[in-house]
């Protein structure tokens, strides 16, 4: 599904990623862990073409992301790779339902189909009753659920989440993590999630640990 091969990246004189390589199999939830500054975000950005490696390739579904031009990268994010961020990134004046509908609108999904899918997704993330609320009328956990629903709207192959629970308290964070775990099962999506939290790691199929830009540890979890 996702194949990272020999990816390196430096900022100026400091090298952030050193020849990083690993694969992610379809339908799995992989946790990317490491101390702050170890290069997690940098790596995740490579996957959806938000950043480009100095060397190495990133293959999504067999296609080389690093070779895509601007339009290709937009298409990649619209169709295959969805992001969820620590700061939920919802559009403030739009309702939860409208936020979830944005990727569908970008694909010009017919209105009825769009509304049906939005309703289903909100239901999936447990927010069926909050469709018309705006982000500032939702709790942090609820906002992140909306963001996850929005990320799933375009039926992506790969869900990339960069510390999705970073701004949430432990309990809410865990429920969001459980939701991610659930959608991997129910939607058949592949997920790459960076996190600091050991509890969250337990929910993953596999843990990839990087430190100082090198993969130091890569193991399947018992679960």
């Amino acid at each position: 599904m996702l194949s990272i091969r020999g990816v390196s990246r430096s900022y100026g004189s400091s090298q952030v990623l050193h020849d990083v390589s690993f694969d992610v199999a379809a339908g799995t939830l992989v946790a990317l862990v490491g101390r702050s500054g170890s290069g997690k975000t940098t790596l995740l950005n490579m996957v959806g073409g938000l950043d480009r490696p100095d060397a190495g390739t990133v293959l999504v579904d067999g296609a080389d992301v690093t070779a895509l031009d601007e339009a290709g990268r937009s298409r990649l994010r619209r169709d295959k790779v969805s992001y969820v961020f620590q700061t939920f990134g919802l559009v403030p004046v739009l309702s939860a339902a409208e936020n979830v509908g944005i990727p569908l609108r970008m694909r010009h999904t017919p209105r009825e189909e769009r509304e049906k899918r939005v309703a289903r997704l909100l239901d999936l993330v447990g927010l069926a009753g909050h469709a018309r609320q705006r982000p500032d009328e939702l709790s942090g956990g609820q906002q992140q659920r909306v963001a996850i629903a929005r990320a799933l709207a375009s039926s992506p192959r790969l869900l990339v989440a960069d510390e999705p629970t970073g701004q949430l308290d432990a309990e809410t964070g865990l429920s969001v993590m459980a939701l991610l775990r659930g959608v991997v099962e129910s939607e058949g999506v592949t997920a790459l999630v960076s996190t600091h939290d050991p509890v969250m790691m337990r929910l993953a199929d596999r843990i990839v640990r990087i430190s100082d830009g090198r993969v130091t540890h890569d193991e399947e979890t018992a679960g």
């Binding site: 938000l50 950043d51 339009a71 969805s82 990134g89 559009v91 409208e98 609108r105 970008m106 375009s154």
Partner: protein, 713 residues
């Protein structure tokens, strides 16, 4: 309260863009406000002298005096002292002038002239002659013959006019036109058919044709000749009497046919704006006594249009000055808003740093002082440079009108910044408790409504003052400030009202935009409402557009070419030019400020827009799409602000035509029709172009950046 110099320098360097912009606004504003008042004042002073000299004959004063009456029934006698008598009349007329008028008018020119005589000898009809005596014109050259003398063929005393001819001189031009030369004897007739014989004693030429004498009696040098469409020529010629031949002329013509005219001309530059009212009063006083015989001497009838000329130019100066004050007021208000906007921009960029300093315990007065050092420096440099330029260019400097600019430039930035820092670090500003939040929201609304109502009331008050009292230009700037600010305050009010209407209207677009299938209309509408809600940019766009349209329309209307009465005297010269230039400069500056407001507004909302764009791009939106969203976000503000401003400016200009009495400038009988020139559309077009440019620049910057980096920021 110690100032931390390195951090001050660092901040100034980091924000040199907005600081330079502030400096530029201060520079231009001080340039205009320091140069215009003295220029207008100086030109108004000169305008009186210009109007007097342009009025020509109309600025002169004549006194008509009938020659001392002959007693009916008695035989007529030759009065050898006629010339002395005429000169005596001039003396009496001058005696009647008060010291002001005596200082204004030069020595009078006395002339005696007969009524029209028709030349009967030779040639065709249509040749009219007048016998004219003009005292002793010093500078004549007799090119042929000699000056007119007492007729040598008669005795000292005699009765009856005929058959003695009157000796007269002819100008070279007259001799040519009439075909007469020295020694010729011709017959003329007056209207009643009375015969008057003339003998040409000689031909003369003026040594100094520009002498005032020849202005009073121009036909003594050059006959007026007219040829009509059928080719028939008529001519009017004055022939010269000397002191010796004047008594013969009187005796030869009917008893009441000769009048003494005493002609006064104001000496150049003797009437200024300061003494003109006194001159008018003196003339009125003199007019009251005219036609009344003095204790001894003749009845003198003074006649002048000078007071009309002076009243008109004083009126025109008053209107021009009022208009200049209104335009300056417009510049001041718009510049004030622009400076507030640059202060806001600066504060936005420094928000984090200042809040941090505050959290680490910096006192608000300390922060204020640190920032004030910077704003004082910027203001001093920019204002000082402008003042220097003004001083060099016009050799005069008055900073009274610049003070508000300097004040806002000094106090604005630190105050806005400190208020923002105080708000950000005030815990009550974001209470967790819901009801406390509601109370706070209500308080904010109330504060906003109070401000709006205050501005609206000021606008209404100013407008009422303007329509009831007009702008008093003679009792100092203070009294005239409120009415002069009327157009500006109305424009600001328009901006405030639009600020109430536009954001909800745009948010209302969310619904219909949501019904469309694509994402762009919805996303643009979601941003547009927020951007339109930014107070200063929208208010400044509306205000400066309205005032630019106002200034340019008033300019076009005031210099418009309508039907003008033939004897109308439009304000001309340096003052008229100054007014036109001022309106143009103000119009252009206001246009620039409208664009500046839009650009600063766009800069202010750029971080949010960039953040939204970055988020949406992670969802697959293309850079090209973000450009459309940017257009959709900014265009409503630009269009609504520009068009509302345009309409408001037009309305203001059309009201101003009457309220500021623009007809006075062109000496029109009625208010001129409003002229809205094409250039008034320029601000609207500029705003649209600016939006397109901003969108293009933003998207080209966006293409270059790495999304991953943007999301980190």
């Amino acid at each position: 309260m110690s100032l931390h110099r390195p951090s001050m320098r660092g901040r100034a360097r980091a924000d040199r863009g907005p600081l330079l912009l502030t400096a530029l606004v201060v520079f231009v504003a001080v340039l205009i406000t320091a140069a215009v008042p003295p220029l207008i004042d100086r030109r108004a002073d000169r305008a009186v002298a210009e109007a007097v000299s342009a009025a020509g004959d109309a600025a002169g004063m004549t006194a008509q005096v009938p020659f001392d009456a002959e007693t009916p029934g008695y035989p007529r006698v030759r009065r050898p002292n006629s010339a002395t008598v005429a000169d005596g009349y001039a003396g009496s007329a001058q005696q009647l002038l008060n010291p002001t008028l005596r200082s204004v008018f030069g020595p009078p020119v006395v002339s005696v002239s007969s009524s029209d005589l028709e030349l009967r000898t030779g040639g065709l009809p249509g040749r009219t002659l007048r016998l004219v005596y003009v005292g002793e014109p010093a500078s004549l050259t007799w090119t042929d013959g000699s000056p007119p003398a007492q007729d040598p063929s008669r005795g000292e005393e005699r009765a009856g006019p005929a058959p003695w001819p009157v000796s007269v001189g002819l100008s070279e031009a007259a001799s040519e036109v009439l075909g007469l030369s020295t020694g010729d004897r011709v017959r003329t007739e007056d209207r009643e058919g009375g015969r008057v014989e003339l003998r040409i004693s000689g031909i003369y030429r003026a040594q100094n044709p520009s002498d005032q004498v020849w202005k009073v009696q121009p036909q003594l040098l050059e006959p007026a000749v007219f040829t009509d469409t059928r080719g028939i020529t008529t001519s009017f010629t004055s022939v010269l009497l000397s002191a010796d031949s004047l008594p013969d002329g009187r005796l030869a013509t009917a008893p009441t046919d000769m009048d003494v005219t005493i002609e006064f001309r104001p000496t150049a530059g003797s009437i200024s704006r300061d003494n003109a009212p006194v001159v008018i009063d003196s003339l009125v006083e003199l007019g009251a006594g005219s036609g009344v015989a003095q204790d001894e001497g003749p009845a003198i009838d003074f006649n002048t249009r000078l007071s009309g000329v002076l009243e008109r130019i004083l009126d025109q100066i008053a209107v021009a000055t009022a208009l200049a004050i209104v335009l300056l007021g417009a510049v001041l208000v718009a510049v004030g808003l622009a400076l507030a906007l640059t202060a806001d921009l600066l504060t936005r960029r420094r928000g984090g740093v200042l809040t941090g300093l505050r959290r680490r315990g910096a006192s608000l007065p300390g922060l204020w002082a640190e920032l004030a050092v910077e704003s004082v420096l910027v203001t001093l440099l920019a204002g000082g440079a402008a003042a220097l330029v003004v001083r060099l260019l016009i050799d005069e400097l008055s900073l009274a009108w610049s003070l508000p600019v300097l004040f806002v430039a000094v106090v604005g930035p630190p105050t806005v910044a400190v208020l923002a820092a105080a708000r950000a670090t005030n815990h009550r500003a974001a209470p967790a408790n819901r009801s406390a939040r509601r109370t706070l929201a209500v308080t904010r609304q109330l504060r906003r409504i109070t401000t709006e109502v205050a501005v609206l009331l000021a606008a209404v008050g100013a407008y009422t003052a303007l329509s009831q009292r007009g702008i008093a230009t003679n009792n100092g700037a203070a009294a005239s400030l409120l009415p002069a600010l009327a157009p500006s305050l109305v424009a600001v009010s328009g901006g405030i009202l639009l600020l109430r209407i536009l954001p909800p209207a745009l948010t209302g677009f969310l619904r219909p935009a949501g019904r469309l299938r694509g994402s762009l209309p919805l996303l643009a509408a979601s941003r547009a409402g927020a951007t339109a809600g930014r107070v200063l940019p929208l208010v400044l766009i509306v205000t400066s557009c309205a005032l630019a349209v106002f200034a340019l329309s008033v300019r076009a209307t005031a210099s418009g070419s309508g039907p003008v009465a033939p004897d109308a005297r439009p304000l001309a010269g340096a003052l008229a030019d100054g007014l036109r230039d001022l309106a143009l400069v103000a119009g252009l500056l206001l246009m620039a400020l409208a664009v500046l407001a839009l650009v600063i507004g766009a800069l202010g909302s750029a971080p949010e827009r960039g953040e939204t764009a970055a988020r949406l791009r992670t969802l697959g939106l293309t850079v090209a799409d973000t450009r459309w969203i940017c257009l959709g976000e900014l265009l409503p503000v630009a269009l609504a602000g520009g068009l509302v401003g345009w309409m408001l400016g037009r309305v203001l200009a059309s009201r101003a035509v009457g309220l500021l009495s623009l007809r006075v400038l062109n000496d029109l009988p009625a208010d001129p029709a409003l002229v809205v020139p094409v250039i008034t559309y320029v601000p609207v077009v500029l705003l649209i172009v600016t939006v397109v440019l901003v969108a293009a620049v933003e998207s080209s910057l966006r293409r270059r950046e790495r999304l991953g980096q943007v999301l980190r920021a």
